[in-house]
Subunit: 210 residues, 2 copies
């Protein structure tokens, strides 16, 4: 059974894009994946997760806290952003709690789906294009207001048990899908980890695999 | 003060290429970095290290042993090798001790420098193109014989305290240079970690940085 769109052609499934709002490489990928998907007639399913939960399963440490590797990573993030032509400023606190931001995205996907992508990019830009603080519910609601969402309605939603549960369920599903870091992409069942795998993702979209 | 070659042009310094023989991505990079360097008039300084020593400083675990991430990594290595057009077979024991292989390379660089690159590639190919076992001194000496080195002379050298000390010194220097994984490249002072940074390396060689 295949889905068909209005033109009668087979509708291809979306690219699953998993990311933590505290992930610098997730920010970089968020500015590339939508356009890339569009070139191949694909949508993107934007799925924030919490690396803190995933790292409990993998035993990983926050990248920037690791001796030697953390210093390298700061340099690599900055260089990669310059290569991609994106502004980049590391927030003061890294990694930072991203629960309100993640919940806000799932709520927006359900209630105001046309604003979800803009919200993801606005939150990421506040954190990594300007080095701002998006940890708290107030900051998230304020940024949501800039993309046309109702800040009061969103603030109420962030405390809703159903919204909290939704994020938990999504993270469990992500771990079942093998998500081990951020950014992480799944294209037609094939997993790709890292902004540095965008070239693999594009080739997979173009060729169907190799 | 700048060095000049016979043509009178400035001689550019070599690319430092650090790798562990037990590193699959090191194998992939070893088949690309020499040709890439040559395109930009550069030599490569081939520097085997031991990730076991480096990981003690960074707290890292062997990649393939990490829950969830290890499964992903197996898939990514295989896919990356296919994309690069290189054969790839994972040896049964991973990671494996690579002390004799590393010592053999430094001894060869000192005594028979014209055979050092061939030795690196022959060792790596035995491990990752054919899934062979290069852990022991006997295996290393046998492979050295295939590139025109004297197996007996090499076997004697592997037990030489000066050769043992040489490897230790090189690893200490690598850590001082910020090496946190394999493969790792330093181009004119700029560090790059991972086979997936070869595109950055090439652009750095072409442009002098960005």
């Amino acid at each position: 059974m295949t889905e068909t769109d209005e033109s009668g052609e087979d509708a291809k499934p979306p690219i699953d894009f998993y990311f933590d709002f505290s992930s610098p490489y997730g920010y970089l990928a968020a500015h590339k994946i939508g356009e890339m998907a569009g070139l191949y007639g694909r949508e993107v399913d934007w799925k924030p997760v919490l690396l803190g939960v995933i790292f409990k399963a993998t035993g990983a440490q926050p990248l920037l806290d690791i001796p030697i590797k953390g210093d390298y990573a700061r340099r690599d993030m900055d260089r990669t952003a310059r290569m991609m032509g994106l502004p980049f400023v590391l927030p003061e606190v890294m990694p930072f709690p991203s629960v309100p931001a993640a919940r806000a995205v799932y709520w927006t996907k359900d209630r105001h789906p046309d604003k979800a992508v803009a919200l993801v990019k606005a939150l990421y830009d506040e954190a990594f294009a300007r080095g701002g603080d998006i940890r708290g519910a107030e900051a998230v609601a304020r940024i949501a207001g800039t993309v046309g969402l109702d800040a009061g309605e969103l603030t109420a939603a962030l405390g809703d048990p159903a919204v909290k549960e939704r994020l938990k369920t999504e993270i469990e599903a992500a771990m079942q899908a093998g998500v081990c870091g951020s950014p992480f992409f799944v294209v037609d069942g094939e997993p790709f980890w890292g902004a540095d795998r965008l070239d693999h993702v594009e080739r997979w979209l173009a060729t169907g695999g190799w």
